[in-house]
Amino acid sequence: MRRVLQLLTLSLFTGYTAVAQDLAHKIPEKALAVASIKSDQLFQLFSIGEFDTSALGKLLLDGVSKRTGGDYKGIEDAGINLSSTIYYYYQKTDSINYNCLLIPLSDPRKFEKLFNDTTRAKIKQQGEIRVLATSGKNLFMWNNEMLYVAHGSVNTYFFHDSLTASRYGIRDLSYIDNPYDETVSDAIIDTVESADATIDMPETTVETEAPVAEAVTEEVPGIPAVPEAPESEETMPTPVVETEYTRAYKEQEALKDSVAAAWMATYSLDILNKSNPSILNNPAYLRSLDKNALGSFWMADLQRIYSGYLPYNFLKYGNMLKGYGSVNARLYMDKEHMRITGEMALDEDKADAYRKIYDKKLNKKFLKYIKSDSLIGFMSYAFDTESYLKELPKIFSQTYGTFSEEIDLGGDLISLLLDEKAIAKVVKGDALILMTNLTPRESTYQTYVYDENYERRDTTQTKMETLPDILCMFSSDDTHLIEKLLKYGISKHKVLFANNIYSLYHSTKNPFNLHILLKDGIVFMGTSLTDIEQINAGTYKGNLNKQQKELLLKNNMTMFFSPKNLRDKMPVAEMGNKGETISKLLGNSGNVYLKSSGIKGNYISAELIADVPNNQENALKYFISLFNDATKAR
């Protein structure tokens, strides 16, 4: 029994330390967006020692050393706990929006040294918490475990309500004949006092920085500052001579900032001191987490965010994003890949509609026309045309909630006019677009020659241009309409027909030659006549690899790009002095894939994968090296 108790205590203790290190429980339940990055995983991929000696690290450390007059040799000297998770979150209220960072600290004394002497002198102690307000809008607060950085911006329309504004002593200047009088300074004191009374401000000793009368600061300790003039100047043109109006305007703005600063102080202290309901109560947020992810992102329901930004009189259009739920994404980096996975929640109706639309697989016959070993890139999609046409009106009727009856009626009318089944026979809804090659092509252009007496004569010259070869295919069970269209083109002398192949030659409206072939229920369109001829004769030899086969068949939408194959075919000489650099950059890059497999549960998901080339240790180092190369290419 004792052993059990011991074990229980131990596990509880471990659990407790885990919570103490992870700051997610400090994020308010009502946050609209949360992003996080795991510094321990980051520094596993790129060790602290390596970072300190890297170009980026040196730049950062030199900058900090210069600014603070200190001597920073390593990132660990900043006092940040580098084996934990850093969080960012965004919260919106009716009056103020907060952008906040939560950073775990290992040594607060080291962190304080990051500030220069003047700033450090402004740090105030309040119990275990140290506070620094760098301006009316930014606030730093920290204790021994964490640093909390908040940036607040007041919602301008909050003060548009004259009753609310007057509560804080703010006046609407446009209605004042003589906008400036000496009572304005009294208003500041009134406001600050009323702000204090309204929000029940706890006693703090954050110092004011702004040139407000000393008495004000002493009377109301803890209200961090009427901010300095430059803050308000950012939002208004700098006048040559300060008029009474601009003076009054500045004071009103300063007043708003002082109110905001007071709100921020209360809000931030509450986060640090108290244990409030946290985002960890939100199942959608919890779904976004994965212990293997290096970083993660979560955003609340799109409709909630959208309607939060709508001005009141537009609320009737407020259903634009109805049915679209929260969005989340995760970033993974390992030795072989960089992956970003993303999801968006859908409500039952939307999920049902999209499930029907996505109930389609790519035509397997497409696969024999893919040459994986030389392919530059491809794009594929598979939607069910019939369901798409049927479901579209429903999707719209949700969006325009107020007009749902009209939209519904419109949808029925469209259904009546359209024969969804017949359309779905012509265009089944799947397509594959391949970029197969780059081919040099002779192109003519008009220029002039000048005779010995400099009289001008028109002449036509030729030059070589490299063009990508594209091969597109889509399924069609009924090609009559397409054939009819092409035959109309023949009768109008726009289209040539020979050996089953329809050809459109390049013109001003069409920069490339296009050859069309209808075969085996597939419509082929290609820029290379050889490709189309071989497909027609049945001699086209594809060599699809297993990885791409899986990618194409298991997903409703895919994209693939091979930088190496592009590099091999690229006309470096034609590209001028940047050709070499771009060629090197492409040669050092791995393949990139994008895929979406449609609906799982009530979530629609997509994934982006970048392969790490063999000569690179891991994804992070690979991206840092790519970034360095790309910077050189600029």
Partner: protein, 225 residues
């Protein structure tokens, strides 16, 4: 809509591979009495595939792509405006939308009329430029002058463009041809070349040199009396 986007992506990819260069040709034919004619030609034929691809898009690099009709309307507007200018007559224009070549030609009573015309056109298109050449013909002395002084403004404005937009000018050429009824006895610009019959002068330079102030197009041409 989705398919349209695919099309635009394809077009963008394609347009990357096309080269972009163009030439601007300015021809002035001077009579002994000071009257004459001028032809301005802009030839984008070498970039025609790129332009054809761009013209299928709505916008590129944040600029709206004008349609054929809009371009024609602008040209017509310019022709109408030029016809109203004092001393300018016989204004005609051609626009070839297959090769992307356009020209505008007109007669003038005095070559100095061209100076007013250039200024008015620049104002119409809201181009701030202080370094446009000015022309003068002294009948008594039989001397033709083109004054051009480089101003840093052009370079400053050019440098404000994004790199990808600057590249449009990298292979652009400017050609100026001056033709006279009498023979040329001397000319001041050593970068210009005189024709075999000694009645014409040509100068060809790269537009980037003009923008950077590395080339000068001033010239004083003395004609036999």
């Amino acid at each position: 809509m989705f398919k349209n986007k695919l099309f635009v992506i394809l077009l963008l990819t394609i347009s990357v591979f096309f080269t972009s260069c163009f030439e601007v040709i300015e021809e002035i034919t001077m009579g002994k009495d000071g009257t004459g004619s001028m032809i301005l030609t802009v030839n984008f034929s070498q970039s025609k595939n790129r332009i054809a691809a761009i013209m299928l898009m709505d916008s590129i690099h944040g600029y709206k792509v004008p349609g054929k009709q809009e371009i024609q309307q602008e040209i017509d507007k310019t022709v109408a405006q030029l016809s109203r200018m004092p001393g300018i007559s016989n204004v005609k224009s051609t626009a070839d939308f297959t090769n992307f070549v356009a020209d505008i030609r007109f007669s003038f009573k005095d070559v100095s009329d061209v100076n007013h015309l250039a200024k008015a056109l620049l104002e119409q298109y809201k181009v701030k430029s202080t370094n446009i050449p000015t022309y003068n013909y002294n009948k008594e002395e039989a001397r033709f002058t083109r004054d051009y002084s480089y101003s840093n403004d052009v370079k400053v404005q050019f440098n404000q463009l994004k790199n990808r937009d600057k590249e449009i000018f990298s292979a652009a050429a400017y050609i100026s041809i001056l033709r006279f009824e009498t023979t040329i006895t001397s000319y001041s610009n050593k970068l210009a070349r005189i024709s075999k019959n000694q009645q014409a002068i040509i100068q060809r330079l790269a537009i980037p040199d003009l923008i950077n102030g590395q080339a000068n197009i001033s010239n004083q041409v003395q004609l036999s009396k």
